[in-house]
């Protein structure tokens, strides 16, 4: 809140920036701790003995001794809860997230690592594209108030945005891939190829497989960015410094981008972090439709097979990734707005 009066009156810009980033970092640490703790308590809130419930799925695959040793590995013992909690934290800090039931005996981390890259590629790229074009559309829409773009795009994109992400994906898959046959139906690259980032055919295959799912995510999320940008821009365009810039006879392009858009971008950058989790949730479901081998597909596998360790590992990993991305956004924010304070 208000700065403490005892603080030295003038702080260097760098000090202020550092303090801002450290405070954000502290916040992310708390968020991470909350999700860790939720993750720890949830299985223990289940009715009955959590271990048996989780390991019931193992019965066919494992001998009782092995289950016993797995129990120990999970820290699901009869020890007091607090002790279990610390064992849990300790094993997490060593990067042990448990063993997947479905992909037994692969550790959860290995399973997740296979999907991580694809999700980052798909969701990351789609989000960046959608953010970029959404903002550009918003700038243009606000600049040409009540023009064609400004009167058609907002209601249309709002309507499209009302569709669940994965439903758009279903439509696209059915009409464009299944009926028209313009795009591949499933997976991230052709089944005939193996992962080889050096080969051009492989990269081409990855791109053609990505177009459809990525466009669905872009289409569903672009409206939010556009409307946000447009509304902030409209406000800023009536500020005195814009009138001043125009009176000075600066070029329209310069006023539009360097004066108005740059300032209007800040609120959108802040909401970017928060929207990230939302877009990611949507893209996880989109992945399922296209059988895209990312985290969403793994999540479905985990749910289908009641693979609790995998589910929990996914939850933690995705949360950590979102927190990390948010921190990057904070750094970007500082870079964009040197006035960052508080």
């Amino acid at each position: 809140m208000a700065p403490a009066p005892t603080r030295p009156r003038r702080e260097t810009l760098k000090g202020r920036t550092m303090r801002f980033l450290l405070r954000r970092l502290g916040f992310y640490a708390v968020a991470a701790w909350v999700s860790l703790t939720v993750n720890f308590y949830l299985p223990r809130l289940m009715p009955g003995d959590p271990a048996s419930a989780i390991f019931a799925r193992f019965q066919g695959k494992l001998r009782p001794e092995e289950i016993d040793s797995l129990r120990k590995a999970y820290g699901l013992s009869d020890a007091p809860l607090l002790e279990q909690y610390f064992t849990y934290l300790k094993s997490l800090s060593r990067g042990e997230f448990g063993i997947s039931i479905n992909f037994f005996p692969a550790p959860v981390t290995t399973v997740i690592a296979t999907g991580f890259m694809w999700t980052i590629l798909l969701a990351g790229l789609a989000t960046v594209i959608s953010f970029f074009f959404g903002n550009v559309l918003g700038i243009i829409g606000a600049w040409r108030r009540n023009g064609i773009l400004d009167s058609v795009a907002p209601p249309l994109l709002t309507f499209i945005g009302a569709f669940p992400y994965f439903f758009l994906a279903m439509l696209a898959l059915y009409f464009l891939a299944f009926q028209a046959g313009w795009f591949p139906l499933r997976h991230a690259y052709s089944d005939a190829l193996s992962v080889n980032w050096g080969s051009l055919t492989f990269i081409k295959s990855v791109v053609t497989h990505m177009i459809l799912p990525a466009s669905c995510i872009v289409l569903a999320s672009i409206g939010g960015w556009m409307l946000g940008m447009r509304n902030t821009m409209v406000g800023i365009l009536s500020e005195d410094y814009i009138t001043m810039a125009q009176a000075k006879g600066l070029s329209q392009k310069r006023i539009m981008f360097s004066y108005a858009a740059r300032n209007a971008l800040l609120p959108n950058v802040t909401s970017f972090g928060m929207a990230l989790g939302f877009v990611l949730s949507g893209s996880l479901l989109t992945e399922i439709i296209f059988a895209y081998p990312g985290l969403g597909y793994l999540l479905l596998q985990a749910v289908r097979n009641l693979d609790y360790p995998l589910m929990q590992g996914l939850f933690l990993m995705i949360t950590f990734a979102v927190l990390g991305a948010n921190f990057l956004v904070d750094i970007l924010y500082v870079w964009l707005d040197p006035r960052t304070r508080r």
Partner: protein, 334 residues
């Protein structure tokens, strides 16, 4: 951002007239609402779906889960395939031989009731937390705001998945889980609204006249936030409908029940897309989208009506200027 203070000024004055003419003060709002195109569009779509849900037994009598006998259908359909729409089944049948139209009508009941209950529940929880945080301030505010922000930043879908997976599947669980993950946004909105209200004179007057905190909160602060409250509720309902469909699609609700989400789940599981049975998922998705769209329109309308700045000058955030001024800034083209 700057919209809030003015809004409260207006509600404050209506608060003042309330004593003499309690209802009259509200009529202009209602009139504005009826005249607003977005509001009417939203209300009519929503009303349509609510009526459909309520009248399900009369519109599409019978059990939605019933597998229709295929003996009376054309021989081509006897094979284990979903059938397209026709005279017998308006929208065709699913992969399990259920009437899509009937499922759609009955599914509206569960989907809308889950959406609306989560909308109401999470707004109430969010309001209590936001009110407390905003009004009490100090460490209570710090703590509650931290909690709110943490909830906002944790990605929703994975959290929903682990919550739903560990609990017994069913509509009640879904409502609980969605409320648990959905209260943070209303709380944040409420808190900022309370912060701006707290600085007003009439609150100070209540404090000075010795009213107790809960009374100030519920009879002074809360009535001035009714539009924000309704707005949050509408927004939360949109969230809930989408999240419920997502959860069902993953198979984390009771997939034996008939809702729009489970319809999509079965469409996906029976490979509705790859067998070309578009009627198993297209109508459902359109219904979901129409509901979400109607609610979004309603929210825009509410914003336009209750936000004096938007109402007077349509989205110009700078108070003193009107829209015409923005368009005819001297140097801009022409």
């Amino acid at each position: 951002m700057q919209a809030t203070p003015e809004k409260t000024l207006v509600s404050k004055s209506s608060e003042a007239t309330k004593i003499a003419r309690p209802w009259l003060a509200r009529w202009p709002l209602l009139r504005a609402f009826v005249r607003n195109r977005k509001a009417m569009l939203g209300v009519s779509i929503l009303f349509f779906f609510i009526m459909v849900a309520l009248l399900a037994p009369w519109i599409a009598p019978g059990n939605p889960k019933k597998m229709e006998s295929r003996a009376h259908l054309a021989p081509a359909w006897v094979a284990d395939k979903p059938a397209p729409g026709g005279k017998t089944f308006l929208l065709g049948t699913t992969g399990q031989g259920q009437d899509v139209f009937r499922q759609l009508i009955w599914g509206a009941r569960l989907s809308l009731s889950v959406g609306l209950s989560v909308g109401i529940a999470s707004t109430i929880v969010g309001t209590i937390i936001g009110l407390t945080a905003g009004y009490l301030g100090g460490w209570v505010d710090d703590l509650l705001s931290l909690l709110t922000n943490v909830m906002l930043i944790i990605p929703g879908m994975p959290l929903l998945v682990i919550l739903a997976a560990f609990l017994k599947p069913g509509p009640v669980t879904v409502v609980m889980v969605l409320t648990l993950t959905g209260w943070a946004w209303p709380a944040r909105v409420m808190r900022s609204q309370v912060l701006s209200l707290r600085a007003k004179d009439f609150i100070a007057a209540s404090v000075v006249s010795g009213e107790r905190t809960p009374r100030i909160l519920f009879s002074e602060v809360l009535p001035n936030m009714s539009s924000v409250f309704v707005g949050s509720m509408v927004g939360s309902t949109v969230y809930a409908i989408g999240a419920d469909v997502g959860l069902a699609f993953l198979g984390l609700t009771d997939v034996g029940t008939t809702s729009w989400g489970t319809m999509l789940y079965w469409a996906q599981n029976n490979a509705g897309i790859l067998t070309g049975a578009w009627w198993t998922f297209v109508p459902v998705g359109i219904c979901i989208a129409l509901c979400a769209f109607a609610l979004t329109m309603l929210n825009y309308a509410l914003d336009e009506i209750t936000n004096p700045r938007l109402r007077a000058e349509k989205e110009t955030t700078h108070g003193k200027r009107n829209r015409a001024n923005v368009l005819v800034t001297p140097v801009v083209r022409k």
